[in-house]
């Protein structure tokens, strides 16, 4: 039992990321409302960002990846030790990923607005009904 608890506690961030990802995925598939799908999409992306940031974490009193001047750890400018700072690379990657997710959100919302303009609803099943009404049942 305690092993399990260790296992859980040691990796809880990863568990949370999986949970968030499942939420996002579920929303994207199950929800019929397009805006909800878009929210799900964003949650999904955030989950992955969470995963990356978790990989960056470093225990043992590591600091944020900005090299301190003089104070704090008392380091000279060129003497930064790798163990003292959190791994910056995933942060860099995730900055990019956040930007991408915002951009995607913008375009997705744009298209949702267009869809609404066209069909007067954001519900997928109602849209399907309208399309069927317009085209007479053809795909």
């Amino acid at each position: 039992m305690s092993e399990f608890i260790d296992f859980f506690v040691g990796k809880y961030n990863y568990w949370a990321f999986i949970l968030l990802m499942m939420i996002g995925l579920y929303a994207m598939i199950a929800k019929k409302n397009l805006a909800k799908k878009i929210i799900g999409m964003n949650i999904f992306q955030t989950a992955i960002i969470l995963f990356y940031i978790s990989t960056a974490a470093k225990g043992g009193g590591a600091s944020i990846p900005i090299i301190a001047h003089g104070h704090g750890h008392g380091l000279s400018e060129h003497g930064a030790r790798a163990a003292d700072y959190i791994n910056p690379l995933p942060h860099v990657l995730m900055l990019t990923a956040i930007v991408v997710s915002v951009a995607t959100l913008g375009v997705a919302l744009t298209l949702a607005v267009k869809v609404y303009h066209q069909y007067g609803t954001l519900e997928e099943d109602e849209i399907a009904d309208r399309i069927r009404a317009q085209t007479g049942g053809e795909p």
Partner: protein, 499 residues
Amino acid sequence: MSPHLPALPVVVPLLSALLITILGWSNRRLPFPIALVALTAGLLSALGLMKDVLARGVIGYNMGGWDPPWGIAYRVDHLNALVLVVVMAAALIGLIATRDRVKAEFEDRIVPFYTLFVLFVTGLSGILLTGDAFNLYVLLEIASLTGYALIGLGEGRAPLAGLNYILMGTIGASFYLLGVGYLYLMTGTLNMVDLAARLPGLYDSHVVALAFFICLTGLFVKMAFFPVHVWLPNAYSNASSAAGILIAPLTTKVMIYVMIRITLTVFTPDYAFDVLDIGDAVVWLSVIAIVMGSVFALAQNRLKRILSYIVVAEVGYMVGGFWLGNRAGITGSILHIVNDAAMTLCVFLAAGALLTRVPGDRLIHLQGLFRKMPVSMAALVVGGLSIIGAPPTCGFFSKWYLISGGIDAGHYGFVAALLFSSLVNVALFFRVFEIAYYEPFGADHGHDPRAHGASGREDAPAAMLAPLVVVAVLLVALGLYSGDLVSAIIQHAIPARII
């Protein structure tokens, strides 16, 4: 050649896309020439790269002057040089051919259209050249975002299709990103070559296997592999014809390239084909993809939808061929990337040409088109024959290698699926041809010999026909030179250990 050649296919289009916005905002006539120049330059540099690669082997290029594991490095070898040339050429031809369509369909959005399209090509060429797993994701998103936009602006269901494309595409890209993350977690690097060097010690790790599966799943979504193909038919068939012509030949092919690249370069064939041993399962999946794609195509009654489902089936060809894991199969897969790009370009271009003169692409609209638009229809026939796999068009030869690979691997299900799909394609295309062939007769039952001349002829504008004819000829030429293509380039793109 210049040592900076690998940067050019990406940098030149990117800068041009920006120039299109900046300059085109005031002068509406500029976007097309700038795009033309950009893509021509891209094609030329791609050809130059090809030449360099043939002469010197793999070329590396360090962005920002940082050495690979730390900075981002480009890595050009036979495989991506070949696909790059194909992509650039297809984009250039598409660009020239769609000029009038774009003017007609996007009269007040020429600037954003060309900006987005050139950015799209930038993204694709970046995907092809990059040697960094994360950089690939960013470029993938560039290509996807612009693709969503280009597809989203069309008639009818296009916005909805575009939205679905975004959702699916984001799932795919995110899965890929997650897979890269898993790899990074286990190895601490993002550079493909470095990854390949550090992975062998981790072959029995479940995380690496998981990373591979996740990447693969994501790419399957992006390339519209069968169970997750649902975005593609709607997206391609509802897009405006110009956007369809420009996007359809490129996206899925590049995604398949990414799959090949990830499998061969990052995970190495040892891991993918021997350690994991999932080849058989994927090939069976692709069998299902091919069969279902073909069957769905049969059920459609619109030309572009038929073509879209054929694209789904063709993705099955390439994935299955690659996962056969032998030289013939992979050769076929790579060759089919080249051929399918040309084929898809040809048929979508022909469909676009038809749409300039007929009101819609329902099959009923195509009646009598052989007489009305002989050149376009002839090109459609050539493209159709190529998709069917009739010699000497190029489609035959890639199919030949694929079947040969299937026989080599003893995977007769795949062979059967290929043949089945070819037969279905025959049925599909000849249904189209038949309808186009059976013209509605006039009162004289068409018996006046003079009426059979040029009088009823009303083909697409020459600006569109010329590229179309070029592509159609290219289909045959690619077929005739496929032997050289394989022996000079593709053979070098496959690792030596694959037999």
